[in-house]
């Protein structure tokens, strides 16, 4: 059973901490110019962080306790491929979900 004091410390601490992380630059730097070398790095934030977040989940999914899983790998490949070809987020999500459920169904 989760201790209620710990729970509330975590909820409030995580709320304040997450807000600080999200506000630290937009709030404190604001309109001041940032150096060009830093801006050059920041341009690649999204394209670096999202793949890094996903890659371990694709190879070692939490849903299978880290076991390699053919339906999940296939769904990942299809999602990325459809996204690359169509540039359409919705089409990519739907074809990835169709692949995942189709393969889970046929592989039982």
């Amino acid at each position: 059973m989760i201790d209620k004091t710990s729970l509330w410390i975590v909820i409030i601490g995580l709320g304040i901490g997450s807000f600080f992380l999200r506000f630290v630059f937009t709030g404190l730097v604001g309109e001041r110019e940032m150096p060009p070398w830093l801006l050059r790095h920041l341009r690649y934030t999204a394209v670096a962080i999202l793949p890094a977040l996903v890659a371990p989940q694709v190879l070692w999914p939490s849903g299978t306790d880290g076991q390699f899983d053919l339906p999940r790998i296939s769904a990942a490949v299809v999602t990325l491929s459809v996204g690359l070809v169509t540039k359409n987020v919705l089409a990519a999500i739907l074809s990835g979900a169709a692949t995942l459920y189709g393969m889970l169904y046929f592989l039982g």
Binding site: I2, S6, L7, I9, V10, I11, I12, G13, L14, G15, G17, S18, F19, L21, R22, F23, V24, F25, T26, G27, V29, E31, M34, L38, R40, H41, L42, R43, Y44, A46, V47, A48, I49, L50, P51, A52, L53, V54, A55, Q57, W60, P61, S62, G63, R72, A76, T79, L80, G83, L84, K87, V89, L90, A92, I93, G96, A97, L100, Y101, L104
Partner: protein, 241 residues
């Protein structure tokens, strides 16, 4: 649909973020279910989602709380999972740093992966947007996401039945992120940044406190910046936005 007013910017944000509805509903419901299963009541579960709005960090905190990990470690681990938000904040600053502070604070509270990625993609595609249009677009992208995060956390907590593993809900978020990544590969520098980030994330997967993600992200960003600088040297103007 070109953006000419703040209203059309807001509408485009709503439209661009609408596919995320498909993912937020199961993901929020799952949090509600797992939280009640772990012994939280409905009020605690909903408060958690309203105060924090960060799926991955909430799941991490919940799991560690259930494992009787010391409170300070729970907090540190969940915050580490959210460290990427500071990088999102830095990345948004050149675009929205000029907005009124209350708008920046509100945007900060509602910064989630989906809204950040949609916004940064739009800002880079259309650099002529004004700051009020950028803020309107940002608030548009959170409109289909954040309220549903609250509502379906509540639904999940109230329904309280467990979801079978065969539903594979763990994979809803990876699929969304992959769909969001695909349109980002605009230059060789973007591709290189993503490749290096993926390789480092796989090598660093056992680094404690979810810091492997940050290491991988920084490695990818350095790669992107280096490749961009190198491309500028061999062909000036080739990477101009």
């Amino acid at each position: 649909m070109p953006i000419t007013t703040t209203k059309s910017a807001y509408r485009k944000g709503v439209v661009d973020a609408s596919p995320f509805v498909l993912v937020i509903i199961p993901f929020a419901s799952l949090f509600g279910l797992l939280a009640t299963e772990a012994g939280l009541n409905v009020f605690e579960t909903l408060t958690f989602s309203i105060v924090v709005i960060a799926g991955a960090a909430q799941f991490t905190a919940l799991q560690l709380l259930g494992d009787d990990v010391p409170t300070a470690i729970v907090l540190a681990s969940a915050l580490a999972v959210n460290l990427r938000m500071a990088m999102y904040s830095a990345s948004l600053t050149p675009w929205i740093g000029g907005a009124p502070v209350w708008q920046r604070a509100l945007a900060a509270y509602m910064t989630v992966d989906q809204s950040y990625v949609a916004a940064i993609t739009q800002y880079e595609r259309d650099p002529q947007m004004t700051v009020p249009q950028r803020m309107a677009y940002f608030f548009g992208t959170v409109t289909p996401v954040v309220p549903l995060w609250y509502i379906f956390t509540l639904v999940g907590a109230l329904v309280g039945a467990s979801v079978p593993d065969s539903w594979a809900l763990d994979f809803a978020i990876p699929i969304t992120f992959l769909a969001m990544i695909a349109p980002m590969f605009r230059t060789a520098a973007h591709v290189a940044a993503a490749l290096v980030a993926v390789i480092v994330s796989l090598i660093a997967v056992d680094v404690p406190y979810a810091l492997g993600l940050i290491i991988a992200g920084v490695a990818g960003m350095i790669t992107g910046a280096q490749v961009e600088a190198w491309m500028e040297r061999i062909k000036p103007g080739s990477t101009a936005r």
